[in-house]
């Protein structure tokens, strides 16, 4: 075990001690139980520290937890007490927290030769947690499998059938995972450097959640090989809406929005140019409000939230605010957050990370 690994483990132990002192206070616990909806998001505070916040539907801060570094995506499941926030790449920790009870948070990590890519999904019964990971020495994407009933011990992995798996979602029915392989190779030695832009190839892959066998691979046409498919959401019919990030010139107007379903080819959504240009070639979050038949896509670079009709793909509305990215379906439509501190209709003195998880 090298020093880097020793340092990392020591750091995680220290963070765990700090977390155990931050269990939910009783007033906060009561407040959580009285909410129609509870949201979670990672944040950076003005002193440079990172944390996880639980918020009400109107953006009120209910509870926060410290994190060892920046958190990113949230995984939650109705059949599990646990929700998870994953570290942003190239960190290797995740925090399991329980917003409903007094269970002690669990900080767990990938093996030393893997790191998280920031997203994951539960099995339908809440027993297993699937996480997008990087096997960085071999430059291949993995789906790590963790046992939610045993302190999130890692019990296996399978290939993501691509490079740089990012968002991962469980499809309706609970048998199939959908993985967005962003296609970009990274290595912790060069934390934020994209190592293979000359040969990158993104894909959407459907994987059997039980066996890990690849069911379908949907790739982009050659002329859009620099498009990285990273974020997505599925509706109840299994139509997956995808938001991409383009690695080519800002002068190009890449098609950033697509949809796909099993046994149906990936199809770009032809957005009006005036809306597409406002994404600045970068979509940071995608979510669906099934009840209202709406899809929302956000761009922190362009400050745009674009709302589409999920049936027709037509634009319903666009909204602008600086640094907007986090999105989640709310009771009545969507809630959004910005890196400048806006969450719902409230301002906070923090920078919100790119994603919001809805916990109830």
């Amino acid at each position: 075990m090298n020093k880097l690994e020793l340092d990392r483990r020591a750091f995680l132990l220290g963070a765990g001690a700090s977390l155990s002192a931050s269990l939910l206070a009783k007033p906060a616990f009561a407040k959580l139980r009285n909410q129609d909806a509870v949201f979670a998001s990672g944040f950076k505070s003005p002193d440079g520290n990172f944390g996880l916040a639980l918020l009400s539907e109107d953006g009120e801060l209910i509870q926060s937890y410290p994190l060892p570094a920046r958190g990113h995506g949230i995984a939650a499941n109705q059949n599990s007490n646990w929700a998870i926030i994953f570290a942003r790449r190239p960190e290797n920790f995740a925090l399991a927290f329980d917003p409903k009870t007094h269970l002690k948070p669990v900080l767990f990590s990938t093996p030393a030769d893997r790191h998280f890519y920031g997203h994951g999904a539960f099995s339908t019964d809440g027993r297993l947690l699937y996480a997008s990971e990087n096997d960085f020495e071999n430059g291949v994407g993995k789906i790590g499998i963790y046992d939610a009933h045993s302190n999130f011990v890692r019990i296996g992995e399978f290939n993501s059938a691509g490079i740089g798996p990012h968002e991962i979602i469980m499809m309706p029915g609970g048998k199939t995972l959908c993985v967005a392989n962003g296609g970009i190779k990274t290595h912790p030695q060069f934390p934020r450097t994209k190592l293979n832009l000359d040969s990158m190839r993104s894909s959407i892959v459907f994987i059997d959640a039980y066996s890990g066998s690849v069911i379908e691979v949907h790739q982009l046409p050659d002329n859009w090989s620099l498009l990285s498919l990273r974020h997505m959401a599925t509706d109840q019919k299994g139509i997956v809406w995808i938001g991409g990030q383009y690695e080519g010139s800002a002068f190009d107007q890449a098609p950033l929005v697509a949809k796909v379903s099993m046994r149906t080819s990936l199809q770009f959504i032809d957005l009006p140019s005036k809306h597409n240009v406002c994404f600045k070639n970068y979509i940071g979050s995608v979510t669906i409000n099934d009840k209202e038949g709406l899809v929302a896509l956000s761009s922190p670079k362009g400050g745009q939230v674009l709302i589409l009709d999920s049936q027709s793909g037509n634009v319903v509305k666009s909204h602008f605010t600086s640094g907007v990215c986090g999105l989640s379906p709310s009771q009545k439509s969507f809630i959004a957050s910005s890196e400048r501190g806006r969450f719902g209709n409230r301002n906070h003195d923090v920078n919100w990370d790119n994603h919001i998880g809805r916990l109830q």
Binding site: K3, L4, G59, R88, R89, G118, H166, G182, I184, H187, Q189, F190, R192, T193, K194, L195, L197, D198, S228, R230, Q245, E247, G248, S249, A250, F251, D252, Q253, S273, K274, V277, C278, N281, Y282, G284, E292, L294, P300, K301, V305, I307, V316, K317, H319, F320, T321, S322, G323, K332, S333, F334, I335, A336, E339, R342, F343, G344, N345, N351, N354
Partner: protein, 357 residues
């Protein structure tokens, strides 16, 4: 009904971003175009032409002195590139031009292996401009050319007339001429790219308003510094000396590592200075420009004593400490730009900056 529901997104302004540019910001953008982008790409193209011409001459009349001329010209071209390489907007991002000029980092030496294989097998497809552009980006640019000119077997360039190795070098230099011509031509005055750069507007894919333009400009400087610190220095300087990797350093064969870092910092400082972005600061904070410059100068001064082979730097305790200090200095310059100046200008605090999450 649906529209009513959507209005619940109360926090979102219904007013699109302002599509306008004030005179002060216009001046900053114009400064950058006229005093940095255009002259830097023109300089790069001229260096590429000189390198290609001298390489052709070497191939026709191989000699030790002609090889020395080409090697010196190679270094000059790389330094010209280092001064603009962190400006990653426009055509340089298209068609893998950045990787075709310089494929780095190459963690598993994939590029080196391809170059060595091409040399060993005398692969004729790397000896013409037309065919080399169809090959892996790793054999098309400066990494490959450095090995050809400075690596094992490069001494044969002094004697072998019309050698395969020299033809390989010639094809790479011609490729550099073509790419840099595109870069230079794209940014000439009145071009589409220049107009995009100078005129933020609602339809402009580059920037819709001043704030986006300044964000891109500030992001260029911050990300450039970050890459110099984490990728260029971080490639060889590890937490402990025993983990250092001198052969992962950029252009260690030509003893050009420290010079490339220096020129990279000088290029970013030049961008900062010519932009005069500090003139946009509130009057009470206009000393931030000087404090930022101070951090740049500290880093460049530190490098002045480190212009030597990287392996020697890493085995000298005092030089290695200087290199560690350099890393800190670059971080201080980043902090001045990211934490202080960006905040004062009301720009993104670097939290997301849209880097692939």
């Amino acid at each position: 009904m649906r529209i009513t529901i959507i209005l619940i997104l109360l926090f979102l302004s219904l007013v699109p971003s302002q599509a306008q540019s004030d005179e002060a910001t216009k001046k900053v953008l114009s400064n950058v175009l006229i005093e940095y982008i255009q002259p830097r790409y023109l300089d790069l193209h001229r260096h590429a032409q000189k390198l290609a011409s001298e390489t052709e001459h070497l191939c026709n009349k191989p000699s030790a002195s002609n090889l020395g001329v080409v090697q010196a010209s190679f270094l000059s071209f790389t330094h010209s590139w280092a001064k603009i390489e962190w400006f990653r907007i426009g055509p340089v991002i298209s068609k893998n031009r950045i990787e075709r000029i310089l494929f780095y980092p190459d963690r598993k030496s994939t590029g080196l292996k391809q170059v060595q294989r091409a040399l060993a097998l005398q692969d004729q497809t790397v000896t013409s401009l037309k065919s080399i552009t169809q090959k892996s980006v790793a054999v098309q640019g400066l990494g490959a050319l450095e090995f050809v000119l400075f690596g094992t077997g490069s001494e044969t360039l002094q004697t072998d007339e019309s050698s395969f190795r020299c033809s390989f070098a010639k094809a790479i230099t011609q490729n550099m001429v073509e790419i840099t011509k595109t870069l230079s031509d794209t940014w000439i005055s009145e071009s589409i790219a220049s107009n995009y750069w100078l005129n933020p507007s609602a339809e402009n894919p580059l920037f819709r308003n001043d704030q986006e333009a300044l964000n891109v400009l500030m992001g260029t400087m911050i990300h450039g510094l970050e890459a110099i610190r984490d990728v260029r220095i971080g490639a060889f300087l590890k937490e402990e000396a025993k983990f250092d990797r001198p052969k992962s350093a950029l252009m260690w064969r030509s003893e050009n590592t420290a010079a490339m870092i220096t020129k990279g910092l000088e290029g970013l400082l030049e961008l900062f200075n010519v932009s005069a972005i500090e003139t946009l600061l509130p009057e009470e904070n206009n000393s931030l420009g000087d404090s930022t410059r101070f951090e740049f100068h500290q880093a460049i001064r530190t490098l002045n004593s480190l212009q030597k082979p990287i392996a020697g730097i890493l085995t000298s305790e005092s030089d290695r400490k200087q290199m560690e200090y350099l890393k800190l200095s670059v971080g201080y310059a980043m902090s001045r730009l990211d934490n202080d100046m960006s905040q004062q200008l009301g720009l993104s605090a670097g939290f997301s900056f849209g880097d692939g999450d």
